[in-house]
Amino acid sequence: MSDPISAMNMARFDGIARIEETGLHGMITLRGDLASKPLKAAATAVAGVAFPGANEANCEDDTGICWMSPDEALVMCPYDTVKAGVAQMQKALARQHVLVVNVSDARAVFQVSGPSAREVMAKLCPVDLSPEAFKPGMFRRTRMAQVAAAFWMVDDQTFRIVCFRSVADYVFSLLRVAAQPGSEVGCF
């Protein structure tokens, strides 16, 4: 076993916002009836946070749960514990009709931070990112320019973005272009 490497190997860029790849994260796709108590219990046991409502993300540091769709959640945990997390959830939900699968390597995670972070994101996503409309705790799946992405806010000036690993280079470049010096919009 050799050291696993993330898609962009922790690349970073400083423009009107700081763009950085945050490395590998444990991510588990959980499909099933999100209203089911055993399912929620299994997810929260691994992530250590309360199960989120629709279009919400409960994330703390490396752990969390994101609401993906009415029958899908993304459970986050440290990368080195993901196998244990998958096994734990599979065991807990062995009698349920669910799908629990490790998708940590299929994704890349970026952080966009700084006073202009909202503007950088609003250049790429057809989403109302004004402070009144999008707040920490919310979760949104949408597109960033031409690829699918999902994001939430760690705090009022910091976004976490999840995208597919194969387009990590594209997404990083997009963010770099959107955060180029001199491109503040002054809207939010």
Partner: protein, 109 residues
């Protein structure tokens, strides 16, 4: 550039986040069906100037397929509803009736 509200996640999505899926409420015909009804299932589509029922997928969002009742001319949206149904719900039909009394579309009215 339409905006439609996904009935699954409640997001009001930009058309660029959605994928169109053609006419709604088609009944699948498989083996054992007659040539005419199978032909109609594959190829015959409504093309109305006015009330229409369509399928859309919240492709860049929650990934769910849903139905939309829409006026193809004015682009008024009478309602969106989940795909797990074979007919438009009552409130959507009522919204259409309020705007187009006496409307009909295929077997619905």
């Amino acid at each position: 550039m339409l905006i439609l509200t996904c009935p699954y996640c409640g997001i009001t999505a930009d058309e660029t986040e959605l994928a169109p899926g053609g006419e709604a409420h088609l009944k699948r015909h498989g083996p054992g069906s007659g040539d005419d009804e199978f032909h109609s299932y594959l190829f015959t589509r409504e093309n109305p100037r006015g009330v229409h029922f369509e399928r859309w997928r919240h492709a860049y969002g929650c990934g769910k397929w849903f139905h939309a009742a829409r006026d193809t001319m004015t682009l008024e949206v009478f309602g969106t509803y989940k795909a797990q149904t074979t007919e438009p719900p009552k409130e959507v039909r009522a919204a259409i009736t309020a705007r187009h009394p006496g409307w009909s579309w295929r077997d619905f009215s």
